[in-house]
Symmetry: C2
Subunit: 441 residues, 2 copies
């Protein structure tokens, strides 16, 4: 075959909502599609907090990418980390491969931003990848076990103090699910006083869920406070240490766990410098989602700064999914010699889950609060979760968990306690006496 008869190649970097959708939508395009991700699975990010809170198994929200692409014969998957992109020669570089492209779609998403707060990266738990969710789960469950062993009441209270930094959807979800977790495990620790378990949500602004109407944020605040969460506004963290959170007003709170749900930044592939960026380091794109300087390169999802009616998109999954469809359509148009068209986001509504059978939502002009948006949130995410088996597995866990008020997946899988420096710190090495009677010694 000569070069001319080769089908054009589209390389998609990143297999989140946007990248996976792009690859699927390009299946019948005639192009050869290569989807690259550092993981061999797609992560269903909206349910990460449930993995962290022992509600569902990590495997249930991870879908093997090769299975996704099984029915698209011209679409291949490569598990690799992109190390460089040479826009001039149109080559994507991984550790051991150079991959040429005709069209490139950048969809590498976002990552946690610690906002320059000292100690946050070392001691706070982010919640943006499946590994991070499992790590946080292990840590939370360890804290319960450590508290059960701890004779000193002050240290016990510290071990059971959870601070969540950030009042967006992730922070709200984590606060709510920790309340539910507390209720679920209470009967398993007869020796603990559960008044000791404090869940504290701190937010730099004046309201929760800033991307939704104010009224919904105020409802969310009331609901969380009813559930026993302490919500603090206008509160900024200035430092995180192994055993405490320090605030900008000077106060210091001894804590056992800090969940960092405060900031996200674009997860730029290496060596995409010299590209025009917008706020938060996101790539500036044209209304067609093409890069400013490259007609054959697109950026979508959290990586791209897209605007609509003068307002920037907020980084939710439906935006990335619709952009994936749009980019596939635009590439097909380019393949036929036509011009790409403008992307327009159709907002079908927004939902956020709080916990305690409550959520909030905005569908068109209608604002919803309470049980209905809670149920809608779970239903919508169950429908969008990739994979029939995964849907069944999650449904099974929800039915079991919500009907029995239980959390079955409370398994500290790895990390023996001695290798966890923070647990040693919080516990100390003092030999404690748990003797039945001193007469024995």
């Amino acid at each position: 075959m000569n070069t001319l008869s080769n089908p054009p190649r589209v390389v998609v970097v990143g297999a989140g909502f946007g990248g996976m959708q792009t690859a699927q939508s390009l299946a019948q395009s005639g192009a050869e599609v290569l989807l690259i991700d550092r993981n061999n699975y797609n992560t269903f990010i909206p349910l990460l907090y449930q993995v962290a809170a022992a509600q569902i198994e990590p495997e249930s929200i991870a879908y093997p990418l090769r299975t996704v692409l099984r029915r698209a014969p011209r679409t291949q998957f490569l598990m690799a980390t992109v190390q460089n992109i040479d826009f001039e020669h149109q080559v994507v570089e991984t550790a051991d491969q150079l991959i040429s492209y005709d069209y490139l779609v950048l969809a590498t998403g976002s990552q946690t931003q610690f906002l320059g707060v000292p100690g946050a990266m070392e001691h706070a738990f982010p919640l943006r990848t499946l590994d991070q969710a499992v790590t946080l789960r292990q840590h939370i469950l360890q804290r319960f076990e450590q508290a059960a062993r701890e004779p000193d009441p002050v240290q016990r209270q510290q071990l059971l103090t959870f601070v969540i930094v950030g009042g967006g959807p992730t922070g709200v979800e984590m606060a709510g699910t920790l309340v539910e977790l507390k209720r679920a495990v209470r009967r398993d620790y007869p020796g603990l006083n559960w008044q000791d378990m404090q869940i504290i949500l701190v937010q730099s602004g004046d309201n929760l869920l800033a991307n939704l109407p104010d009224r919904l944020g105020r409802y969310t605040t009331r609901k969380l406070r009813q559930l026993g969460v302490k919500v603090h506004f206008q509160t900024r963290v200035s430092r995180v240490t192994e055993q405490a959170v320090e605030f900008q007003n000077g106060s210091v709170l001894p804590v056992g766990t800090v969940v960092w749900a405060a900031g996200l930044e674009a997860a730029m592939p290496a060596a995409t410098a010299n590209l025009s960026t917008a706020r938060k380091g996101k790539l500036a794109v044209r209304p067609t989602l093409q890069l400013i300087d490259h007609d054959n390169v697109y950026a979508i999802g959290d990586l791209a700064h897209a605007e609509q009616n003068g307002k920037s998109l907020t980084g939710v999954a439906p935006e990335a999914l619709q952009q994936g469809v749009a980019v596939a359509r635009n590439i097909r148009r380019q393949l036929r010699g036509k011009m790409p068209t403008t992307f327009s986001y159709l907002n079908k509504g927004r939902l956020a889950i709080i916990g305690g059978y409550a959520g909030v939502g905005k569908i068109g002009p209608i604002l919803l609060t309470g049980f209905l948006p809670w149920l809608m949130w779970l239903s919508v995410h169950l429908v969008y979760l990739p994979g029939f088996r995964n849907r069944l597995a999650v449904l099974l866990n929800w039915l079991h968990g919500y009907s029995r008020g239980d959390r079955a997946i409370r398994v500290i899988l790895s990390a023996p306690m001695t290798t966890n420096p923070s647990s040693d710190g919080a516990q100390g090495d003092r030999p404690l006496l748990l003797a039945k009677s001193t007469g024995h010694f």
Copy 2:
């Protein structure tokens, strides 16, 4: 309360089949029971191989020990590693606690024994804990991805070569499930030649499943060979390196994965020296399961060397479960001032699963082969698996997996490739060309 009115305390070390059963059977004894384990869950060891082969989630075969003990108000759980046992003063020592006991039950099970083979500990994968099963799963799935990226056919074949050392139940199960895994993932790797995937089972003796009648071992061998497994008898491994297995006959086989299913030894708690041991370092026990030198200390399960009719028990789960019941009964007898009675194992039969819808079994004098013992094996293990939710989750995975010939849980959760030294070794850092046409460069 004075010392005399305190209830007697029974400490159970290890929460496998035997220890968990002991604690449960002691629930109504009037004694205060403390169950200690280094994990916060019970591991259902017979299904570990299915975790390693991406059939079921690790969480499905792990059951939180506190939930097990929820309905036993006088039974407590402590997550800790026992560091010392002082038999004279009747004290169990953990990192930060000294725990006195009136009765002690040692049930710490067994661990992998590498039989002094150089390199086995470093490069072969044992399969005895949940963490090891997950580690092996990640490794196997990585090998498929590495093979998909590997342009050199010789290296590709090596990456897809699996050697299983040991022809007992675990070795047979692993060989069979790898055949099924190969069938399940084949369609997801259109670029791979699956003739390259070799599954080799090596056994030092003359037959498989040495604890079952010869005829069943011979059937198992035939069945595995039909499935494409290479079974080698009278073959001993002399060394394992990063990239090869060396045999005592001098031959060297390049491999991508070595599963070590060859040896087990008693997992003795620290400082239980000076105790009478029998073969494989197991604790010698009287017919009542008491230690030779200590009336108030029992040992059960894989840790104990128990004999019946002059033959030693073989270390299967039903033995440990029945011993747990017997020890609880004996301790209750001692509490009432009576003598412990002799333990007698009631052998209800043995089953082993091969794969490819085949198993073997011996129920009384009847030998079974084929589909019936396969189905019986799955049914029995489903019934014995602790936890209703776990049973449902495993059943769901089996129905999905066996009906669709699929493996859904093919998720490489952690261990980015760059941190895996063996993957670097097998892959090399050569920049490879996967260019569509050289004209691009």
